[in-house]
């Protein structure tokens, strides 16, 4: 008894803030390097969510400046709707305070931990209070706050609050100072780049000490804000049901119909019947055991899937393509938005895209861009169901090489949107392997794989044709010359081989002894009217025949000839010059022409 009394003296409740002070890793503040990214991530997520709610195109400004040894000042400013002064201390100075936690719709931030965790982290590492400026509209005055968190009680500590002269009409500016390093600069820019891909309606400007980067907006359409829906009976847990029942004054059947999504009178009756409860019973009066049987009944009865269109906001195939095009220059991009689906009563939707070639690195593994509710996931790639799905698809049948993950110049984007994204942990870095989600991701990826395969085989076909043209037009004439020399017989004319192989217009350009010759042969079998475009540093002053048209830009001359070439005949032009540059034939389909520079 004595010992228990002693212990009782030490036993007391722990404040949330205290708990998180000791468990920083749960929030993504486990290392100084990660701190910067987590803070900016939370602030940017909030800004984008707020702008969406207010239906304005987001304009976000981020600045990171070193103010001392290992001390960084981070500023994030948005043009969102602002926060009313009375709420500011709670949003920034109290953990687990939020408006979206209880709503069932797709949002970026969910738990309301994020930004106040950064305030706490600043307080712990530098002691400098966080400064917030917010303005809710042109007629309102802006307010400036200096805020910290009372760790023992998890209540905001307002150090200063005063009206402020601010040039923005509406918006919020946060300034946080904490200990960190910039070793994750690359990762940070990557995060912003990826954010910009899935938020093509946002403009994000970053100042990193002296460097500035801008991620431009490519879409002028404000995305429609998802609206909240009611809880689905299949997606509820016991504690939640008990809480809801305790505060309800309704009869059981009315409670079921009015509180839950897709439950009508008939369904409610069925649930009551299965649970052996009367529809007229007061919900408040149900015992724990009764609630348990009710919960089981609710989940056993077939209920249509929750409505998904209004609570989810997919990016859309067109915008994903535009977003990717803007940040990665690739030869091929395809995107797919899957129909919405449901897991354990939570609506979700999978979107995916695949890109190939262009500026992507030719060697090494695929680049995987993972997103949950439009937020890039930057860590724990290996633990994420998206990565597992990418590895599980047999990419070899789509003509990609694969060692676990596909290899080569490939980029894969997967976006999972849900009212409740199942993360593997609170730091929200990886999505858990829910079979329904896995299936949708696989279907999207396989669909895209098929499209990629079509692109690749078409490209290979073109390559074969080009390769053949090069062989026939450039190498065979040389072979003919050498062989004629060896057997000491007259030089063979190889143009019949060309014509036989390719029923096309063939344009050739070569340079010998400072004389440039362009030869256009018509093997199409029809008379063709074409224009020859020759762009190089030669002015072709003595060209015969004379070009129709010559123009100069920066020492590069564009010469244009028009020619009507009967079938099986050759059109020729030559002039003094160095050759090189670019040659093209216009006025004929791409598939019916071949241009070869013999000097290459």
């Amino acid at each position: 008894m004595v010992l228990a009394d002693e212990l009782a003296k030490q036993q007391r409740s722990i404040s949330v803030a205290e708990f998180f002070e000791k468990n920083k890793h749960l929030l993504g503040f486990d290392s100084p390097t990660r701190g910067v990214i987590t803070t900016i991530k939370e602030a940017v997520d909030n800004a984008l969510d707020a702008c969406e709610e207010a239906q304005v195109l987001p304009d976000i400004f981020i600045s990171i400046k070193k103010t001392g040894n290992d001390i960084f000042r981070i500023i994030v400013e948005d043009n969102g709707p602002g926060i009313v002064p009375a709420q500011v201390p709670f949003v920034f100075g109290k953990l687990l305070y939020g408006s979206r936690f209880h709503q069932i719709r797709q949002t970026r931030g969910q738990q309301g931990i994020g930004i106040s965790a950064a305030v706490l982290y600043a307080q712990l590492t530098t002691g400098v209070p966080t400064i917030i400026i917010s303005r809710t509209g042109p007629k309102e005055t802006a307010h400036r706050f200096e805020i910290q968190i009372k760790i023992e009680t998890n209540e905001p500590d307002i150090i200063l609050q005063q009206p402020f002269e601010w040039d923005r009409i509406h918006g919020t500016r946060v300034q946080i100072e904490f200990k960190s390093t910039m070793s994750a600069k690359k990762k940070l820019l990557e995060y912003l780049k990826y954010t910009s891909v899935v938020n093509p309606h946002a403009r994000i400007r970053v100042e990193l000490d002296d460097e500035a980067f801008t991620f431009e907006r490519v879409s002028q359409d404000v995305i429609s804000c998802p609206t909240a829906i009611q809880q689905h009976p299949h997606g509820i847990e016991f504690g939640q049901l008990k809480r809801m029942a305790a505060t309800s004054e309704q009869k059981l059947s009315d409670f079921l119909v009015e509180t839950f999504s897709r439950v009508g009178k008939k369904t409610a009756q069925e649930m009551c019947g299965k649970a052996g409860l009367k529809g007229t019973a007061k919900v408040k009066g149900l015992s724990s055991d009764e609630l348990k049987t009710l919960l089981a009944a609710m989940q056993a009865v077939v209920v249509p899937a929750p409505p998904t269109t209004q609570c989810l906001s997919p990016i859309g195939e067109e915008l994903i393509r535009r977003g990717l095009d803007k940040e990665f220059q690739m030869d091929f991009v395809a995107a797919r938005t899957r129909p919405s689906s449901v897991y354990s009563g939570h609506p979700f939707m999978v979107e995916a895209a695949i890109g190939y070639g262009g500026r992507l690195p030719f060697e090494g593994n695929v680049i995987i861009l993972r997103f949950a509710n439009r937020v890039p996931l930057m860590y724990q790639q290996g633990a994420c169901v998206i990565t597992q799905c990418v590895a599980n698809v047999n990419w070899k049948i789509y003509n990609l090489s694969q060692q676990g993950l596909p290899m080569g110049p490939v980029l894969i984007l997967v976006h999972v949107a849900s009212t409740n994204v199942p993360f593997t942990s609170e730091s929200k870095d990886a999505i858990a392997g829910i079979p329904e989600i896995e299936k949708e991701i696989m279907l999207a990826l396989q669909d895209l794989g098929r499209e990629l395969k079509i692109f690749l085989s078409r490209r290979d076909k073109n390559k074969v044709a080009e390769d053949r043209a090069r062989a026939v037009c450039a190498i065979i004439p040389e072979l003919a010359a050498k062989v004629s020399e060896i057997v000491e017989k007259p030089l063979i004319d190889t143009s019949p081989i060309e014509g036989k192989l390719m029923h096309k217009i063939i344009a050739k350009k070569w340079t010998r002894d400072e004389k440039v010759t362009i030869e256009v042969s018509n093997y199409t079998g029809h008379e063709e009217e074409i224009s020859v475009y020759d762009i190089s540093s030669d002015n072709a002053a003595n060209a015969a025949p004379k070009p129709e048209f010559v123009s100069e830009v920066d020492g590069q001359f564009t010469k244009v000839w028009k020619a009507t070439i009967p079938p099986q005949t050759v059109w020729l032009v030559s002039y003094t010059g160095k050759g090189g540059g670019m040659l093209d034939i216009r006025g004929i389909e791409d598939t019916k022409k071949m241009v070869v520079d013999l000097d290459v």
């Binding site: 390769d467 090069r470 450039a474 062989v483 020399e485 060896i486």
Partner: protein
């Protein structure tokens, strides 16, 4: 075949390749050439000559892609080059030809491997060894030591050489062109071809050649063509048994195979280069076990090579299957010089006499 005949044959053969292409192009066709497939899946045992040769599988090279067209163009340049060489009665090394190709623009070789391979292709099509093109390798031949007398036609006239009395400690160096050697007489009972210089020196130092009347040939690893031609000529001219003594690992078994059966790369010349009567003396996997020799673990590559040998037609005998499977089971390999662990005389006093009498040679 005399030198002049060989040159004439190669000129005719090479020009006929060029003429065929000339006629194809003249007729408006894309030039092409067919070559035997040069992999281990296309070598066959020839009963009459008792060597492995290329089979019937052929692949057609048509100048319809840039790669194949370039290959034909390179071939044409080489033919032109050889023609010139034969006309001017000059010769060059394979490496020199590779450097000369620098001036051939589009037809220049990317690496010497490529030009060597192309020369081998030409040997196959023309049925003329590269000596007939006046091309020879730059590496000097390996050496030979033992009771035999030869005459070599050198730039300074005919020289008679006894390969024990007239040579230094290192022995007589085998020239690039073995055709210039005349085999006079010998006092030998058998020939031992050795993979490593260390073992070759050990046998000379221990007087093994004198004691057993043996001709010792240093293979210098994978033997050059001239070394293999030398063994072939000794075997056919004097009808002497040829024993091959190498390290006990999969790469060394390939050395034996190239001596006895010919190499995949030069299967078109097997009749001239292979010595079908050559026998594998050691080091056998069973020797590692029986003599408890110092050994190393087989690497992944070794195991891969052993498994590949199990599917190689040249190793498709009961003897080799047993030995290779034994080695895979033990997971061990040894070098021939590992016998030194039993004393420097062990190999010449115990191992070789024992093994040679077991094989019925002495």
């Amino acid at each position: 075949m005399s030198k002049e005949e060989l040159e004439k044959k190669s000129m005719v053969a090479l020009l006929s390749i060029a003429s065929a292409w000339y006629d194809q192009m003249k007729a408006g066709e894309i030039p092409s050439i067919s070559l035997p497939t040069r992999t281990k899946y296309n070598i066959e045992y020839d009963d009459t000559s008792e060597v492995w040769k290329y089979g019937d599988k052929e692949s057609m090279r048509t100048a319809a892609s840039a790669k194949s067209a370039t290959h034909l163009l390179k071939m044409a340049y080489v033919i032109g080059f050889v023609k010139q060489q034969l006309l001017e009665n000059r010769s060059s090394t394979l490496r020199e030809m590779y450097y000369i190709s620098e001036g051939w623009k589009r037809a220049k070789f990317g690496a010497q491997e490529e030009s060597n391979f192309l020369i081998e292709d030409l040997e196959i099509i023309s049925e003329v060894p590269r000596e007939g093109f006046h091309l020879h390798p730059e590496e000097n031949g390996a050496s030979i030591y033992g009771p035999m007398r030869i005459r070599e036609e050198t730039r300074r006239g005919m020289r008679a050489i006894h390969c024990q009395d007239d040579v230094g400690q290192a022995g007589y160096t085998i020239p690039n062109n073995v055709e210039n050697i005349e085999f006079v007489d010998h006092d030998a009972k058998f020939v031992i071809a050795l993979e490593t210089g260390g073992m070759y020196d050990r046998l000379i130092e221990n007087g093994f050649d004198e004691e057993y009347n043996a001709i010792l040939v240093h293979l210098k690893g994978q033997p050059a063509r001239s070394t293999r031609r030398m063994l072939n000529k000794i075997s056919t001219t004097w009808n002497l048994p040829v024993m091959v003594f190498t390290d006990g690992d999969p790469w060394s078994y390939r050395i034996f195979a190239s001596v006895a059966y010919g190499a995949i790369k030069s299967a078109h010349m097997s009749e001239l280069l292979a010595t079908p009567k050559a026998q594998f003396l050691g080091l056998q996997p069973s020797d590692i076990r029986d003599y408890n020799l110092p050994s190393d673990k087989l690497s992944e590559k070794d195991v891969e090579a052993l498994n590949s040998e199990l599917t190689d037609p040249r190793f498709a005998t009961d003897y080799w299957k047993k030995q290779i499977n034994l080695q895979l089971e033990m997971g061990l390999k040894s070098e021939q010089q590992a016998f030194a662990a039993r004393g420097l005389d062990f190999v010449t006093k115990k191992y070789l006499p024992g093994r040679l009498s077991e094989m019925g040679i002495i």
